[in-house]
């Protein structure tokens, strides 16, 4: 996530609360609040827009492959620019470089045992680790089958490979607990996240996806349109950082 961490924010809160007489004498670390509704300035955690330059997680080769993949998932046409041009690869890179990539919020203690389909992902790889392994295995597959890296294939060949991953015809050499299908679903999910998220995360440049479907974005008040049934909403999208 691209916003200040809970820890930093908490320390700032503690620092500001320590100056106030409301802090009870018995206060442990953690906060003791009594006698007033606590408020301190700058307690919020606004998101930080990603810097669109360079790669934080992917190697140049991996980056080129991911750019090719998001280009096939979301090809450019009259409806929107392509996933690559909208920044979906940048989005995925920044997510993998952050807490999502490290699985820092998930339960990552062992033992790691094979699970039932109803029990969800049970592997020991973080999302970042899954991308690293999956992209290497994809490269091995295309170099064996086509004698080329994925990014050097024609668009038709790329679609053929992606359809093979999606439909189960291609099995990459991954590891127990992490299937080819799971790798495909992870890439597809993250690509769509980037394309449809607020542009501050890097993957929805110019609010392209929101314009494509008619989602008004970060608007927060539709009282003037709630009872205008079956009528087009007259305003275009806005983003959190005020693009319109």
């Amino acid at each position: 996530m691209n916003h200040t961490s809970r820890t930093l924010s908490r320390r700032r809160l503690l620092a500001s609360a320590a100056a106030l007489p409301i802090l009870a004498a018995s206060a442990a670390d953690g906060r003791s609040l009594s006698g007033t509704v606590p408020w301190s300035p700058f307690a919020g955690e606004p998101p930080r827009p990603v810097n669109p330059l360079g790669w934080y997680f992917f190697t140049p080769g991996e980056a080129a492959t991911i750019e090719a993949i998001v280009e096939r998932f979301i090809p450019g046409d009259h409806l929107s620019p392509s996933g690559k041009d909208c920044g979906c690869a940048i989005y995925i890179d920044r997510q993998l470089a952050g807490s999502f990539g490290q699985a820092s919020r998930l339960y990552t203690q062992g033992p790691f045992l094979p699970g039932l389909s109803t029990q969800g992902y049970q592997g020991d790889l973080t999302p970042a680790g899954r991308y690293r392994l999956g992209l290497r295995a994809l490269s091995d597959y295309t170099n064996t089958s086509y004698k080329k890296d994925f990014r050097a294939l024609t668009a038709e060949q790329q679609d053929e490979v992606l359809a093979g991953l999606d439909g189960g015809k291609i099995k990459l050499k991954l590891k127990p607990g992490f299937s080819t299908k799971e790798f495909f679903e992870l890439m597809l999910q993250n690509t769509m996240e980037g394309f449809f998220a607020d542009p501050l995360y890097g993957g929805n440049k110019g609010m392209a996806s929101w314009k494509m479907i008619g989602f008004p974005g970060a608007r927060y008040d539709y009282r003037d349109h709630i009872d205008k049934h079956n009528q087009p909403y007259p305003h275009g999208p806005v983003s959190i950082y005020g693009q319109a």
Partner: protein
């Protein structure tokens, strides 16, 4: 060594809906109360900032406000013969975290269970005979409708619920839910305005002879000042409600209804970012004397108190009882023991329809913007010729059109590529649906206990959830799906389909954060963990408040009944327990 702190009258574990309600009532009665909350302080102007709260990725996808599995996970399996594994990410349900709890990011559907629910075994046995329910572990709750109606009323007026009564003191009211149990007065505020899809739903099913009404909503139709003097604002239909906190003060939560008053009281203290590890009992195990908690820096403290109230999320209440040895673990092999008994969930199905040339504007939404019908819910219809009991509320609620999670395409469309894009554009304005929220009835082998293998960050065992949909509930759900299929016909949609529930509860896709039971209320200490006042049978200075007390789950969202139980328990404590501490019901 834990540092010993000065004693309080009351120690509350968890400052969400129930903790805030009890703290408010008990401080009014003059008691010194401390609420110990694992998560952070959260409030509207600082944490639910209108400048950036409308962030789907952060709040709905990465679940920023929810309990993170790194803090506390649970393990799950579908039956006692399987090995439970940890839910490494929460999916099927999403517990809350921090001040306000799940009440910060709920949808706001505010229902009352029926009078018949509180005496469900008696009622169904009288109507259909004992054989009808022999596969189920249904039991009466120990409290009656007439006793608890005023507690529902208190909670609804605290929140300012927007709705239309269907039955006031036995008199049917036009426009409301004719199947509801009698209420003492009208809702505090009128229903919300309706967008296109729920309006179309209500018109269509009404013509079929059903009885639609506005879903009772904690997203308020107009400004409201509650009995504590706290002012709430009008809902703006922003479409960032469930999974989000409200930036408009228009969704009822502890923050928008109680905390502005409670926090100013000198006899109340909130201690946040402090996690209770266990409740400490006297050597004979018959009284709670204190709680041990760990603060954000890892230091341990012991907080003594005359009473301890477990007010965490229902599942965590059960885990705290097991970790603290309050009551005896339920055993599915013998059905002996009470803690962990009658864990229930929710039994859901959905109808999806696609049209051409419509403008549903799904982004105009709110957590409870919708129309409901109870014609097939609970025992509103005759089950004598059916092979199940229970039912489902059918709801057409437009919560949002946020596009990462909500961009329906016609079935058969590809999921990526140029044709996917066109299908996404075509589907976004042309899809509408309605859903069935079905009852979940207890069976012997669905239960909660401590996991033998997996531990939390402090080395304590995780809670283990053993659950699958009982045959009764599958049969109920399929019957409801049949009704929904017929209901889709008059819409003349280009495409319509209704889902059918299968065995094998799946922990991954989101279904419902309506986990109930495990510390159920009742009149028999052999089959219930708490008495009718939510007081532990085993440790009478402990009360366990939340959906953990539900002896079964109805086809209705639980928060209205949770709020009523919190008021009911608070009244018992302030009018009975304080005067004469001890067991309020002889065991």
């Amino acid at each position: 060594m834990a540092r010993l702190l000065p004693k309080k009258d009351v120690v509350i574990i968890g400052l969400g809906w129930t903790g805030a309600i009890l703290a408010q009532q008990l401080t009014d009665a003059g008691l010194n109360v401390v609420a110990i909350e694992r998560g952070p302080w959260r409030d509207t102007p600082t944490d639910f900032n209108v400048a950036y709260v409308q962030d789907e990725l952060r709040y709905a996808v990465r679940k920023d406000l929810f309990l993170q599995p790194s803090v506390e996970a649970m393990t799950m399996r579908n039956n006692p013969g399987q090995t439970a594994l940890p839910m490494r990410d929460y999916g099927s349900f999403l517990p809350g975290h921090g001040v306000g709890g799940a009440g910060v990011h709920w949808n706001g559907h505010t229902w009352r269970f029926w009078d018949g629910d509180f005496q469900i075994k008696t009622h169904l046995t009288q109507r259909y005979g004992a054989a009808k329910i022999k596969t189920l572990q249904l039991q009466d709750w120990g409290v009656t409708w007439n006793e608890i109606e005023s507690s529902f009323d208190q909670f609804e007026y605290l929140c300012g619920i927007s709705g239309k009564a269907g039955n006031i003191k036995g008199q049917t009211q036009a426009g409301g839910n004719p199947f509801e149990s009698p209420r003492s007065r009208e809702y505090p505020t009128p229903p919300m305005k309706m967008s296109y899809a729920p309006t179309l739903f209500a018109q269509t099913v009404k013509e079929m002879g059903y009885h639609p009404f506005p879903t009772p909503s904690a997203n308020l139709s107009q400004a409201y000042v509650n009995p504590l003097g706290v002012r709430m604002g009008q809902c703006t239909y922003c479409g960032f409600c469930e999974r989000f906190a409200c930036g408009n003060y228009s969704k009822a939560s502890a923050q928008t209804t109680i905390l502005p008053v409670l926090m100013k009281k000198p006899n109340f203290e909130a201690r946040t970012e402090c996690e209770v590890l266990k409740v400490n009992l006297t050597p004979d195990g018959k009284m709670a004397k204190s709680v041990t908690y760990i603060d954000a820096n890892g230091a341990e403290f012991e907080q003594p108190g005359d009473m301890v109230l477990l007010c965490a999320y229902g599942l965590m209440n059960v885990r705290m009882m097991l970790l603290s040895r309050i009551g005896k673990q339920y055993d599915p092999a013998t059905a002996a023991g009470t803690v962990g008994r009658n864990y229930c969930y929710q039994t859901s199905a959905g109808a999806r329809m696609f049209f051409e040339g419509k403008r549903f504007n799904p982004f105009i939404g709110a957590g409870t913007l919708g129309q409901s019908m109870d014609d097939f819910n609970g025992d509103a219809f005759d089950h004598s010729k059916l092979d199940f009991v229970g039912g489902a509320g059918i709801n057409c609620v437009v919560t949002n059109g946020r596009p990462i999670g909500n961009r329906p395409t016609m079935p058969g469309s590809p999921r990526w590529g140029a044709k996917w894009k066109q299908a996404t554009v075509d589907g976004y304005q042309n899809a509408m649906g309605f859903s069935a929220q079905g009852s979940s009835y207890p069976v012997r082998e669905n239960y909660l206990d401590l996991d033998p293998t997996y531990k939390d960050r402090h080395g304590r065992p995780l809670l283990r959830v053993t659950f699958d949909f009982p045959d009764n509930d599958i049969a109920m759900s399929h019957h409801i799906s049949d009704q929904m299929e017929m209901m889709t016909k008059p819409f003349n949609a280009k495409y319509a389909a209704v889902s059918r529930l299968k065995k094998g509860w799946d922990a991954v896709p989101y279904q419902s954060t309506h986990n109930t039971g495990g510390a159920i209320m009742g009149s028999d200490p052999k089959t219930s963990a708490v008495n009718k006042y939510l007081q532990s049978w085993d440790v009478p200075n402990v009360f366990v408040v939340g959906a953990s007390a539900f002896a079964h789950n109805a086809g209705l969202n639980p928060t209205g009944t949770v709020g009523a139980l919190a008021h009911w328990a608070a009244e018992a404590i302030t009018t009975k327990y304080i005067k004469s501490p001890g067991a309020l019901v002889p065991a």
